[in-house]
């Protein structure tokens, strides 16, 4: 492991090359680069999730921590390791201070694995427009997590407004186990259900996406029953002779009920952040079903037809914080200049 204080991007590239040589990993089978954008407060959580995911999909891990945007002078600290605490692959943790944070790509671009796909994951509140963050612009896949936002539902709506093919949200990934179960329960069904009801937290973006997916695939009315606790509790389908129900029992199991059949306990494990991220790394192409579900829920049309390429929009959060007092100068703040999304973050 090499730790570099107050360094430059070129020195980081050199340190990584030196680590590679000493690890004897010159012919490493690098399949992708994972860029993680995270706040200092959550570095530990993001690191451990990224390490879990990297163990399933060896990748070059680039963790970018932006700090003190208002610091008087820019500064870069970096930690380069191969086969160290951040899993078996290559990892670089970069802390960027001051104005450098706004130009993070100048450090990250030369560190990307040659001609391999790039996935950028924002651990915390997603940027309102991914085009604002150059680390999202060059990525082939962009993974957000709207559940981290203050108002997750509004944040998900914003994901639809800002959508480009290649975007996914972890709220969708959290649904995979549910969707697997529901699809399996439909396998031997001979009739189309008349209606569906989802019981779950009203501010849960996964509930929103599930209703979008069901209405898109089944073309039936989906109503949402609000439950006080978080997360998804139950999904019911109206059939001719009763109800088909999938209900969560505990953090590992669900119960599947069907008319005329005994109830069955089926596995439905809550997965950790690392496992969710690993699932995202498995898919490097556009996720059509996600776009359709998001479109169906948000009623924003033509999501899948949008261009997958974004162009960077220069935006200085420092400047915008002057414009609108009351917001702090961190990234992810909404600029009042872009009227379409004002108020999205509540």
């Amino acid at each position: 492991m090499t730790t570099l204080w107050d360094t430059t991007g070129s020195d980081v590239v050199r340190a990584l090359a030196a680590e590679r040589r000493s690890a004897g990993a010159l012919a490493f089978g690098l399949a992708l680069t994972l860029v993680v954008v995270v706040d200092e407060k959550h570095v530990g959580v993001a690191e451990s999730a990224a390490t879990t995911a990297a163990a399933a999909h060896p990748c070059r891990l680039l963790i970018v921590v932006r700090r003190q945007l208002d610091a008087a002078s820019s500064r870069l600290d970096a930690e380069v390791s191969i086969g160290g605490r951040l899993g078996p692959g290559e990892a670089v943790v970069m802390r960027m201070f001051g104005r450098l944070s706004l130009h993070a790509e100048s450090v990250v671009l030369p560190l990307l694995a040659p001609d391999a796909p790039v996935i950028t994951w924002w651990h915390g509140v997603p940027p309102d427009h991914i085009a604002y963050d150059p680390l999202g612009v060059f990525a082939d896949r962009r993974v957000t997590d709207t559940s981290a936002a203050d108002d997750p539902v509004a944040a998900l709506r914003q994901r639809a407004a800002d959508f480009a093919p290649g975007d996914t949200d972890l709220a969708w990934t959290r649904l995979t186990a549910w969707r697997t179960l529901i699809a399996a329960a439909f396998e031997s069904l001979t009739e189309r259900p008349r209606a569906a009801t989802i019981a779950g937290g009203d501010r849960d973006p996964s509930v929103c996406l599930l209703s979008g997916w069901l209405s898109d695939r089944l073309g039936l009315p989906v109503s949402v029953e609000t439950k006080s606790h978080h997360g998804l509790a139950e999904v019911r389908f109206d059939l001719n002779d009763g109800e088909l129900t999938v209900a969560r029992q505990d953090s590992r199991t669900a119960v599947l009920k069907r008319p005329g059949q005994p109830d069955r306990a089926v596995p439905l494990a809550e997965r950790g952040l690392g496992d969710l991220l690993a699932e995202e790394l498995r898919r490097l192409d556009h996720d059509g079903p996600y776009a359709d579900a998001l479109a169906a829920w948000s009623t924003v049309k033509g999501l899948a037809a949008r261009s997958p390429v974004r162009e960077h929009i220069w935006r200085d959060p420092m400047a915008s914080s002057v414009d609108s007092p009351g917001t702090t100068g961190t990234t992810g703040t909404i600029t009042r200049k872009t009227g379409t999304i004002a108020g999205a973050a509540g």
């Binding site: 163990a55 399933a56 969707r179 699809a183 396998e187 059509g288 079903p289």
Partner: protein, 510 residues
């Protein structure tokens, strides 16, 4: 295959996050307390459950001769799962699975036991919502096949129509011991089950690297143009084991290395290496191309020179002294069974005419390794001084099937320095590095395929018969000879090395 997939509105071919789950079904294992079932089947079923790949309605029915109580049986199965599972053993997953494991005790000639089994399968419709679907896994010696199959026929268990769902049967190797016995076995099984419902397990085909061979060949432009006799000098397919025969003396002494490994694993690897591009990636198309290659296999005219077999004698392996084959428990002192077989065969097609395929397998070799090595012809002209390229060998592409699954490419490269000197270097691709997404165990994949009804990775009748056509003449020749001796811990008898030396080649050390 299953029509419901198309009609399920929630299935979307683009939705690759959702795994395909089998229909609600039962897996009936005959010989559930046997070695294979405990070491491979039960752990594989647990791993499938743990990954959430079993359908909501799933029942494992064990049929065993011994009089186990239900709790003894549950304990044995539990131990097997906990020991053999590759995914972490989780109590709650196990409890859910254990709740759907049932034991049907009885012996194979006990009519009552089979009636009970048939009734249990019928009852699953009401108790577990399983509409007649069942796969029967025959983890029993071939000698017990006739009686078990007859019982299934008598009770109507094997019939798709009578059950209202699908009924499939899984058969393990050996698929007979020569062409005639294989044909008889096929007829026996096909009489009870419909031929497309018979799944013959060759667990090598469940391995990721073997499937990757097809991806390597047919998904890239790089390799296919040179995959023919213009560029390929020879192909070596090796399956080496460091273990001896263990406690299988009775079975092994009747079988030998050629029937045990060459007939199935090696010829299947050969077929996948040499076959033409299938018109699509489905069971029928792939089996069709494999069969074409097997039909084109030609045997050497000179068996004495090109079909070498050996038998290990005592020696040192991995720092320990090991017994010779004849000293193993249960092996007759005058046994002429081979534990090593090496053979040169040809493939009489336009693509492969003149390219020798060397196949070898053996026990008590220095290490466990299975690989396919394609060796390319030397460059037609080398514009270097001859002294510059003395250390340059043939270019090689090696598919490592196990262990260290991956691909190695060997080619010449300049040695850094002021002189022009070219030497072989190896470029390694390790499966575990690019995708460690834990490689599923072969049995896990194959059992899932059986339940899904996907026969792509299972050899069919015709392939088995055709493979025996290759083996039988060699066995006939060998029946009149005594195997060469080789020391345990060496790479086989000297005669095998001479066989390649005669062709101006040598075995690759894997």
């Amino acid at each position: 295959m299953t029509p419901t997939v198309n009609t399920n509105p929630l299935r979307d071919p683009r939705d690759r996050r959702l795994p395909r789950l089998p229909d609600p079904c039962a897996l009936v294992v005959f010989g559930v307390t046997g070695d294979l079932a405990r070491k491979k089947l039960i752990p594989a079923v647990y791993d499938l459950a743990n990954r959430g790949l079993l359908p909501p309605g799933f029942v494992l029915l064990g049929f065993a001769r011994r009089d186990w109580t239900d709790s003894d049986f549950a304990e044995i199965i539990r131990e097997a799962a906990a020991e053999g599972a590759r995914t972490p053993f989780r109590e709650e997953v196990w409890e859910r699975l254990a709740a759907s494991i049932k034991l049907v005790p009885g012996s194979f000639n006990d009519d009552h036991a089979f009636d009970t089994l048939a009734q249990t399968l019928l009852d699953l419709e009401h108790t577990h919502g399983i509409p007649g679907n069942a796969a029967f896994y025959l983890s029993i010696p071939p000698s017990a096949f006739p009686v078990v199959l007859k019982q299934m026929q008598r009770t109507g268990m094997a019939s798709n129509e009578a059950s209202g769902g699908w009924r499939r049967v899984v058969v393990e190797k050996p698929f007979g011991h020569d062409q005639d016995s294989a044909r008889a076995l096929n007829e026996l099984v096909d009489e009870v089950f419909t031929p497309e419902d018979v799944f013959r397990i060759d667990h090598y085909l469940g391995k990721e690297t073997v499937q990757n061979l097809l991806a390597l060949r047919f998904a890239n432009t790089l390799f296919e143009p040179i995959w023919n006799s213009h560029f390929v000098d020879s192909v070596q397919i090796t399956m080496a084991e460091d273990v001896g025969i263990g406690s299988r003396a009775g079975f092994y002494d009747e079988t030998g290395a050629a029937r045990d490994v060459l007939q199935n694993h090696l010829l299947q690897l050969l077929a996948l290496t040499a076959m033409e591009e299938p018109v699509s990636f489905n069971a029928e198309a792939i089996r069709y191309e494999k069969l074409k290659v097997l039909r084109a296999v030609s045997l050497p005219a000179d068996f004495a020179g090109y079909a070498v077999r050996g038998q290990y004698e005592q020696g040192w392996l991995a720092g320990r002294r090991v017994k010779g084959y004849l000293e193993e428990d249960g092996v007759p002192a005058e046994s002429r069974t081979e534990t090593y077989a090496a053979v040169r065969i040809g493939i009489e097609t336009r693509r492969w005419a003149g390219v020798p395929f060397y196949l070898r397998t053996g026990k008590r070799l220095p290490r466990r390794v299975t690989e396919i090595a394609v060796s390319f012809k030397p460059a037609p002209h080398l514009p270097f001084n001859t002294t510059d390229t003395t250390e340059l060998g043939h270019n090689q592409l090696v598919v490592r099937v196990q262990p260290d699954e991956g691909v190695t490419l060997k080619f010449g490269s300049k040695v850094p320095g002021s002189a022009m000197e070219v030497r072989d270097v190896a470029m390694d691709f390790l499966f575990g590095e690019a995708f460690t997404e834990s490689l599923p165990e072969a049995y896990e994949r194959l059992i899932l395929d059986v339940l899904l009804g996907d026969a792509t990775l299972f050899p069919n009748n015709a392939e088995v018969i055709e493979s025996w056509r290759v083996i039988d003449p060699m066995e006939d020749y060998w029946a009149r000879t005594v195997p060469f001796r080789y020391r345990a811990g060496s790479w086989g008898p000297a005669a095998a090395d001479e066989m390649l030396a005669r062709d101006g080649r040598r075995w690759r050390r894997p």
